[in-house]
Symmetry: D2
Subunit: 383 residues, 4 copies
C-alpha cells in the first residue's frame, strides 16, 4: 500500500526575518524549528522566511543550514518582504538601532538581542517608535524564561516570600582573564551586566539609585579586538536601592576563573528566601519560614510537567538546558503576536531594554564620581 | 531588490521511518530536526520520510507536527519504501521484535528503543539477524551520549582512574509510589534497570555474576494498567561481580519519593574516582589521587566547546539538557551509517541490548533462588 | 579584695577507668572533659579516675595529659578500684573480651569500642554476661549520636516517612588504597562495615538475610601490618533484606580514593525520603511527598538549639564536628548510669554489638558460598 | 597492686582571668579545657584562674561549672591577681574598654571579643595602650582559625591565586527577622559586619574606600531590647575598593530567612578562585586555571591531619565544628604569649580591631551621604 501524504499544517504562519547568523542566529533559528513541533497545538507557527547578513557566502550557507527560504546581503530587502511579520535582530550591538527602526517603520514586529542599544537615548528612541507603531517588541533577556526563574517570579509576585528584605545578584564569566586576542570589544556592562540588572528588575522591581565602581584588572587600553579598541570594564560592582527601599548588591565580571557562566542570585524576604544559579539552572532553592524542624533550603527541580515553561518539552524530571530559555521566550513572543497579547510582564520589552540602559548609565556616572546616582525615573509607561 | 533563494542542502540524505509517535517519538523527531542544522557541516543529513502508528488520526497529526512527509497505519508499507534508509522503532516493548526483524530483512539500518526485547532469546535473534545482514544497529541507551558520561568513559578507558576497585550504580524514580492508575505495565527491570546496567557495562565492562533481590512494596498483583496486569518489580537490588573482579552495587527503583530521575554512579579506582547524577547531568565529579593539599572532588562542568558531544551545540558554559543525549546518539548513528563506521564502542548496539537482557534474566533467577548467578558468557562477538 | 573560691561541684561523680589511650582514648577523654561543663546542669559528672595501658611511659603521659588521677599497666588493678564505676575499653579489638568480662564480673558498667568482639560467639558471651550482671553496657556506635542521624531516626520512628520502600548505605574510606605500610590489620568488615550495618539496623530494624561479596583488589596475602598478616577484605558489598521486607544495598570500602570518611545513606519511604553523609554531617536532606510545587530535598542544618543533641552545645547555626558524636554518646550513657535508665534505643548496647557481628558472619558466609544467608534470629531480648 | 599517681603536668602555666560567662564565656572556657590536652606537647598550658561577672550567683556557678578556681563580682580584683597572666574580656561590647585598659595597665596580656570597641577612637586608644605596654593582644576574629580559611590565606599569600581580580563577602543571619523581643541591642554592623570585614582584610589586604548603604526593613525605632533602644541596621551593603585596586561587594544581614549563620566569600584571581561558607565550614572550593579538561571547582575537605589547625585534633577526615575556631585561636595566642611571638598575621590584633572599626565608620558615613568614603589610612604599624 502506498503511504499517505501528511496533512498540511493549518496553523497560521508567522514569518521571521533574521538579521545576523552567528551564535545568536543559531540559537534563534534552532528555537524557531523547535517551537514548530514542540508547542503543539498552538495559535500559530513560525516560518523561517529570510536571513540577512553582510557576507554573501556566509548568509547563503546560513539560509541552507537553518532552512530559511531566502537570503540577502541587504536587510532593507528583507524588511520590504511582506512575508516577514517579525524582524529578529541578532547582529552586532552597533547595528541594533537603524535596521530595527526601519522594521518598525515597515510595521514589523521586532525582536532585538541585548543590549537593546548602546545608549539610553537610542533605547528610548527604539522604545518610543515601537510603542507608537503599536507593534510587539521584545528584547532578548532570555533568562526570564528559565523554569526556575519563572517559579521565583511567581513566588515573589504571589507574595509567598512576603516583603523583600535583601537581594544579591551576580554574573561572572571567565573568558577575559585568559590570555590572547579578545572575542568581543564589549565589556562587562554590555555583555552581562544588562542580563543581571534585568533579572534584578524582573524579580524585585525598579532600581532607584546605585553606588557603583568599575575596575579593569586585566584589560589595558591597548588591548585590541580585531584592530580596534575595547571597553575596559572587566568588573562592575554596585549597591542598588530599589523603589521599594530594598538593598541589593549586584556585580558582573568577565575575569572570574572557574565561573563558566555564573548568573546567580538570592532574595531574602519576610516569609522565605530563594536562590538560583545558571550553572545548575533547573534547580531553585527555596526556603520558607514556617518549615518546622525540617526547615531548610529545598532544592526544587523545576522540571515538573505542570510548569508552563516545561509543559511543551518532556515528562517530569527530564532536565532542560540553556537553549530552552530562548525557545520559551520566542514561543511566548509568537503567542503574543498571534493573539495580540502583552509581551510583558514575562517577556522583556524595549521598555525593559531602555531601563537596563538607564541603570548602566547611572552605574557609569557613579563609578566616575563615587556618588550615589539616581536612575532616571521610569515615567514612560511600561506598555 | 528581490531576495535570493537559499541554495540546496547538498549533503546526502538519510531517510528515517519512525514506528511510534509518543514521548519517544517526540524525542527522536526533535533530535532529527536539531541534527539537521546543529551538526554542520556533516557527512549526511536526516530526512524525516515517514511515520507509522496504529491510529490513523494520531499518526497523521504526528506526521504534520514533526514534518514527516508520509504516514501509515501499517508499518510494512514503511519498510517497503526505498526512501527509508533507517527504521527507527520507538513503539511499545512488545512490538520491538517483529517489525525490526522485517526491517532488517528489508536491508534497513535499525534503531530500537530500550529494552531491545522482553527476553534474551528475542534479543539474540535480533542481534544475530542484524549482524548477519550487515546493517547498522543501535539500541537507545541515550545516557552514553551525555558529555559527562563520555568524559568518564574517556578517563576510565584512558587509564586515568587506574585499576577500578569498586563501583555503585543506581537509578531511582518515584512515580510508581504515587497513588492512582499506572502509566506503564512494565516494572523497574524493563524501564530503568536496563539503563543502569548498560551504564555499568559501558564504564566497567562485562558483568560476570549477580546476587540480586527484587521487592514489590507498592505494587500488588491486582494493580492494573489499562485493564491488564503489570510487572511487580518496584525495586531491584544486586551485587554484581565483573569479569575484571570488580564489585559493584546496582539498584533500580520506581518508588523513591523525591528522586525525579536519578540515574547516578560512582567509580573508585587506584588513581582516582568519578561520580555523576542525571539530575545534575552536566557535572562530572572527578577525584585524582595526586592532588596535593587542594585535592578533592572537582565539579567539572562538562560544557566546554572542545568536547565532541558539546561542540555541535553552544559555546562553553551553556548547559545542555536531557534531550541532547538522544540528539548526540542519533547524530552518531547517522555518522556511522553515512561513513560505514562502527556504532560501538560509544553507541550501544543490539549486542549491548542482548547483554542487558542476559543480566536481567540472571537477576530474576538470583532473586528467585537467592544464589549467585553467572551471566551468560558474552561469547558472541561485539561487532 | 581577695577572690572567692569556687563552690564545689555537687553533682554525683561517676568514675571512669579507661583501657587504651590512642586515638579513641583521646576521643573518649576529650568527651568526658567536655561533658563535665557542657552538660549543665546534669544528673552526674564524669570523673577521670584511672587509665590503663601496656607501656608505662605512655600510659603515665596519658594520665597527665588527659587528667586521669591514676594510671596502671595492669588493667586488673583498675577494675579493683572502687572509684571506677565505668570500665571504658578502647584498646585493640583483640583485647575487648577478657578485660570487659572481668569488669562486668566486678560489677562495673561497661563501654566497649566497636567492634564489640571478633566473633559473634564472643559478642554473645559479653552481652549475656552484662545482661545477667545488670550493668549498663554500651558499644561505641557513635554515629547514632549525630544530630542529623537522630533527626532521621525520629522521622522514621515517628512515621513521618511512612512505610520504608528502599534504602542504601555505604561507608567508604581511602587509606588502604595508598601505598606503604598499613596502619591496621583489620579490614573493611571490622573497621567500618559494623558502623554502616549498625546505622542500617538503627534506622530500619533487623536484617533478615544478606547476599554478599567481598573483594581484595589492593591487599595481598603477604601485605603486612607490624610483621603480621592482615585481613584482606578491602571491599564488602551486599543486598540486605530486613525483617520488614525492605531491600537495601550496603557496602563498605577502604579503597575509595577521595572518600575521606564517607558514611552515607538514603532511605525512601511512602511519605518521603532522607539522605545523609558524614562528610557534611550537620545536614539532613529531607523530602516529603506533600511539598506542592516547591517540593524537593530540603537541606536541614540540624544545628538548631532545640535539638536534644545540640542543646548542650552552641546557639543555632553553630555547626558541630565529628567529636560531638562521642561526647553526646558518653553523656547519654552517663545519664543512663546516673538515672538507671535504658541505654537503648538511642544508644547501642552489647546486643547491638552482637547483632552487627551476626550480620558480619552471615556476610562472610554469603561471600564464600554465593547464597542468600539468613542472619541468626534476634531472639535474645534487646534489653 | 595500687594504681600509680599521674605525674605532674610540667608545662608552664598561663593563667587566665575571664570577664563574662555567657555564650562566649562558655566558648572560651571550653576551648581552654580542650587546649590543655589536645595541644600536646606544647610550650605552655592554660590554667583557668578566675572568672568575673556582675551577678554573684551566676559567676560562682560559672566558676564551678567551668573549673575556674576563683571568682569575683569585681573585675578589678581579678586584674590584681598575679596568677592571672591573660585578661580575657568576653563581656558586653560596652564593657570592653575600661577593664581592658586596666588590664593592660596591670601588665596583663589581653584578649577581647569583637567588636573591639564601639568607636574607632576607643579602638585606637586600646590598640595604642597595648602596643605601648608591649603586651600581647588579640581580638576574637575566630573565623581566621578555621582550617579552610587558613588554607585560602596560604593560597592567596603564596601567590597560588595570582593577582586578585574580584571578591565578594557576605554574612547573613536570620534571627532579627523573627517576631518577638530582640536578643541583642546591636545591629548588623557590630555583630557580624566586623567579622566579614575582617575576613576581607585577612584575605585581601586593606580597604581603601567604601560605597555603602544601610537599611532597616524590620527594625523600627521603637523596637526594644531589655527596655532600651536598639541599633536599626538590619542590612549593610557596600562596594569596597582595596589598596590593591581590587573591588569587592560586602554585605551583612540579620534578616535573611534560612541563613542560619552564613558567612561566605569568593575570591577570583588570575590563577584561580576560592570559595567558602561557614555553613559547610570544612570545605574550601578551589579552582585552578591550569586544570585541563577536568578543571572545575574542587571541594577540598580541609580535615587532613597535616594541616596545622587540624593536627591537634583528629585523624584525616574527621570534621571539625564551629568551636574549633576559638580553640585554635586561643591556642595560637597561648603559644604567642609563651614564646613571645607575634600574634599576627594569623591572629587578629587590636590593630585589626581598630581597622574594622574604621571601616565601619566609613560605611556609616557613606550610607549617610551616598559618597564614596575613604577609610582612614592604616598608618599605625600593624605590630
Amino acid at each position: 500500500m502506498p503511504l499517505h501524504t501528511a496533512p498540511r499544517d493549518e496553523r497560521p504562519a508567522i514569518g521571521f526575518g533574521l538579521l545576523g547568523y552567528g551564535f545568536m542566529g543559531r540559537a534563534h533559528s534552532h528555537s524557531l524549528h523547535s517551537i514548530g513541533h514542540m508547542c503543539w497545538p498552538s495559535a500559530a507557527r513560525p516560518v523561517l522566511v529570510a536571513v540577512a547578513g553582510r557576507t554573501e557566502a556566509g548568509v547563503a550557507e546560513a539560509a541552507t543550514r537553518y532552512g530559511y527560504s531566502l537570503y540577502t546581503t541587504d536587510w532593507h530587502d528583507m524588511i520590504s518582504d511582506p512575508a516577514v511579520d517579525v524582524f529578529d535582530n541578532v547582529t552586532t550591538d552597533a547595528a541594533h538601532v537603524e535596521p530595527t527602526l526601519a522594521a518598525i517603520a515597515a510595521g514589523k514586529h521586532v525582536i532585538c538581542e541585548k543590549p537593546l542599544a548602546s545608549t539610553a537615548a537610542d533605547c528610548a528612541h527604539l522604545y518610543e517608535a515601537a510603542a507608537a507603531a503599536g507593534v510587539k517588541h521584545l528584547v532578548c533577556f532570555n533568562y526570564r524564561f528559565f523554569p526556575a526563574v519563572r517559579l521565583a517570579w511567581e513566588l515573589v509576585h504571589g507574595g509567598e516570600l512576603g516583603e523583600l528584605y535583601q537581594a544579591r545578584f551576580r554574573y561572572s564569566q571567565e573568558w577575559r582573564a585568559a590570555p590572547g586576542p579578545l572575542p568581543s570589544a564589549a565589556g562587562a556592562q554590555a555583555i552581562i551586566a544588562c542580563h543581571v540588572v534585568d533579572q534584578a528588575r524582573f524579580l524585585c522591581g525598579e532600581i532607584a539609585s546605585v553606588q557603583a565602581s568599575i575596575s579593569s584588572p586585566v584589560t589595558t587600553p591597548d588591548r585590541l579586538y580585531r584592530g580596534g579598541p575595547i571597553d575596559q570594564d572587566d568588573v562592575v560592582a554596585m549597591v542598588a536601592r530599589f523603589d521599594s527601599g530594598l538593598l541589593a548588591t549586584i556585580d558582573a565580571s568577565l575575569v572570574a576563573p572557574g565561573r563558566r557562566n555564573h548568573l546567580a542570585w538570592e532574595l531574602n524576604g519576610s516569609l522565605g528566601s530563594v536562590a538560583w544559579s545558571l550553572e545548575d539552572p533547573n534547580i531553585l532553592k527555596v526556603y520558607r519560614t514556617n518549615g518546622g524542624r525540617t526547615s531548610g533550603f529545598t532544592e526544587v527541580i523545576t522540571c515538573e510537567a505542570d510548569h508552563p515553561l516545561v509543559a511543551p518539552w518532556w515528562p517530569s524530571g527530564h532536565v532542560l538546558g540553556w537553549e530552552h530559555g530562548h525557545a520559551n521566550m520566542l514561543a511566548h513572543f509568537i503567542d503574543a503576536v498571534a493573539g495580540d497579547k502583552e509581551v510583558g510582564p514575562y517577556g522583556a520589552t524595549f521598555f525593559d531594554g531602555l531601563r537596563a540602559a538607564q541603570v548602566a548609565e547611572a552605574v557609569d556616572e557613579s563609578a566616575e564620581t563615587g556618588d550615589r546616582v539616581e536612575v532616571a525615573p521610569a515615567s514612560v509607561p511600561a506598555g
